[in-house]
Amino acid sequence: MSPARTVHDRGRPRRLTRSLPRIIGLVLAALLAPLAVIAFASPASAETCFAGTADKGCISGTIRTEKDVVPGVDVHVTGPNGFDEVATSDDAGKWSVTVLEPGDYTAELDQETLPKGTAVTGDEGKVTVTIASLTQGKAVTFGVRTGDYSAAVTTTDRVIKSIFSGLRLGLLLALASIGLSLIYGTTGLSNFAHAEQVTMGGMLGYIVVNKWGVNVWLGCLLVVAFCAFTGYFQDRVVWQPLRRRGLGLAQMMIVTIGLSLALQYVYQYFVGAATVKIVVSDPTPHKVGPIVYNALDLMAMVISIVMIALVGYALLRTRIGRATRAVSDNPALASASGIDVDRVIRLVWTVSAALAGLSGILYSLVIQHGMKWDSGLQILLLLFAAVTLGGLGTAFGALVGALVIGLIVELAPVLGAPGDLKYASALLILILLLLVRPQGLLGRAERVG
């Protein structure tokens, strides 16, 4: 790093500052627009509960075979204190019962009511769920198959399926890694606490949507706004003063490590060691070829693409974006030509934290295994792999890198990597790449050391 990284200019270029709120507004509006459309597009039916409220818990599910939903099937739910109720699946295959007290409940599918040609697989017709607190809705899945179902899936199908989930993961990673890359570009700092910002989005999303029962879209907006504020606040209170003190980048990096450690245990302190996942209604899966997806997957991907496109547009076409790229390129020169470097960096921190928070919410909405207090570790390694792969400090490199890493992670198990090694495969590629092309895919070939 050149010492110029720490140069701070006190000048305030007026035109630039005027366009700043416009950009923030633009970004937020873009975030709002798709959310609003969906919020109104999918009204929940009156009788079906799904998330549970303070005094009414909910057990729900959708009866479906691998082909289609099955209406008119009875589900018998028994529970503590003689709780005994029967629910029937509606035209969309959905059923639900409202429960008034926590405890263990057993849901059993009435096999007599299944239509001809369908059957329960194995013992998957009886499921016991534990309602720990009423606000937490529980989804029950029964295994129902048609007679001609066969479990064999061709490798091609698995590959296509993995490519879909790889793209989904890649887009989520891209949201977070663009921020990481922008922070690196403008300040030279490798932020080890960035993945904790992602976890923060997931954890807060869970608390706001599932514990407080706020509408999911409104909840997302609240959480993203709060995450953006944490980014702003961090730079205001920690990073800017440290830059002013002239603290070295290696030292600052260790500060981010301390922050990441503290944040992790803050999450464990408040949420506990359990895995959390934002549970909204039981979305209907659709099937195109071998790919099974639901509305949430699509929404997450669309939101990611829109946000990434917006950031890209802002970077390329707006004054503030040009200023950001100028600061990335050469802070001293940018400062000398009248750009308020501190203001740009502040904006970068704010937007990066917001994007990371959004990525976290979407992650805990669509990724099957949800999020844990220490999920940040796995995510951080993938983010670093993505950012380094694309070229440290290049925003578009981060996008490409994230997509590649997402695909590698999801394709690795199909190609024979067992278990958690799918994460390792991405890191292995990172190490190999450093040997041949240390500046990354889109990085400029320059001396990096």
């Binding site: 070295g248 490590i257 450690l261 450093l434």
Partner: protein, 389 residues
């Protein structure tokens, strides 16, 4: 890369400066000179143990319980093991300026090499060699792609590689080889070491002053004695290395790599040697770490590396005794915070598991504050920690 042309503070120069100045000024931002530093280290050691021994022996109630916990933790073999790993990290970061974020990976390899070899029936010396060899190869693999690049590449690659190792060790398919996520029980590899003991049977508590533990046993005085003996040995090795011409080269690389390169030295090779040597210390630490417990891959994850960093910066990087003081104080302070929080804050606000998490939160914040306000830690020299990578 710091372009500020500061003189490289070799011990010789520092000593010359001190004799010229006559007396040491405690307010000098440059920190104490080396001889003085050793005396401060000794004073802290003796002072800490005298206070904690007296409180543990005589204080009634909760204060006594907390002090006894701190004493137990300060003497524990695992604290010694982490101290050895930190001595290795000190060679990386303190002397050479390498940002190794994967010290737990070196520990894991040392521990796996040691425990698997003995489990599969090889003699103990071979197990130790296998552990060292694994760490050696690991250092080479990490160093080749990264040591020519900027420092944060090494950080990213080491933290990634350490995690890969842990994932591989946890693989269910390797259960017959690594014991998968459950790891290897201590009884499978501990016996050759315990059998070496000449401490005899029975228990020992020095007339009630020390915790009452078995003289030999699984986690008794024997393993503690050997562990702290190894710590002392490692300190001597690092002391000799650091004052050798090679040690001066390390510090030269830390301060200004280009200057050393222009002197005709092979910077890449010297960095690689430092990475290997620090990694071997890490492997030794890993072997000691599993002796009193069992070989569990998850015990040596990312967080252990971060604890090593916090303890190193607490004690003082680029000093001989900093890692040892840092390790002892780090683990004792954690017990102190957890015990105090448990005793003072009522259960309704903070339950038992939350006090543990609270202590970890404090660790993270301590790490941040240390780097910001006192990068030289307790013993270090501020001048030596101003470098950038």
């Amino acid at each position: 890369m710091s372009t500020v042309s500061e003189s490289i503070p070799t011990p010789d120069q520092a000593q010359a400066g001190d004799t010229a100045a006559g007396v040491y000024d405690p307010n000098d931002p440059q920190g104490p000179p080396p001889q003085r530093r050793a005396m401060i280290a000794a004073a802290i050691f003796i002072g800490y143990f005298v206070v904690i021994l007296l409180v543990a022996k005589f204080a009634p109630g909760t204060v006594g319980v907390i002090a006894r916990g701190m004493l137990r933790e300060s003497l524990s073999a695992q604290t010694a093991a982490v101290a050895i790993a930190i001595i290795g990290l000190n060679v990386h970061f303190g002397y050479t300026g390498l940002l190794n974020m994967g010290q737990s990976g070196f520990m894991l390899l040392g521990a796996y090499g040691f425990s698997i070899s003995i489990w599969k029936g090889l003699p103990m010396p071979v197990g130790i060699l296998v552990g060292f060899l694994a760490a050696f190869v690991f250092a080479l693999i990490l160093g080749v792609p990264t040591l020519k690049l900027r420092g944060d590449y090494l950080a990213i690659v080491t933290i990634s590689a350490a995690e890969i190792l842990r994932y591989v060790g946890r693989l269910a398919k390797l259960e017959n080889f690594t014991g998968a996520a459950q790891g290897i029980p201590g009884s499978q590899y501990r016996d050759p070491f315990v059998n070496l003991s000449f401490f005899g049977d029975g228990t020992f508590d020095a007339g009630g002053w020390l915790p009452n533990l078995q003289s030999t046993g699984v986690n008794g005085w024997w393993v503690r004695f050997v562990a702290w003996l190894l710590v002392a040995l490692c300190c001597v090795i690092v002391f000799l290395l650091a004052r050798s011409p090679w040690g001066r080269l390390l510090r030269g690389i830390r301060e200004d790599e280009d200057a050393i390169r222009s002197l005709g030295k092979n910077v890449f090779a010297i960095k690689m040697q430092a990475l290997v040597i620090g990694g071997l210390f890490g492997a030794l630490g890993g072997m000691v770490y599993i002796l009193p417990s069992s070989m569990q891959p998850d015990a040596m994850g990312r967080n252990l590396t971060f604890f090593c960093w916090t303890a190193l910066l607490l004690g003082g990087a680029a000093t001989v005794f900093g890692p040892v003081i840092g390790a002892i104080l780090f683990f004792a302070l954690r017990v102190f915070i957890q015990g105090t929080a448990g005793a003072i804050v009522p259960d309704s606000i903070m339950n038992l598991s939350q006090t543990a998490q609270f202590a970890w939160i404090c660790v993270g914040i301590t790490l941040m504050l240390l780097v910001i306000f006192r990068p030289q830690g307790i013993l270090g020299d501020k001048r030596e920690l101003r470098f950038n990578v």
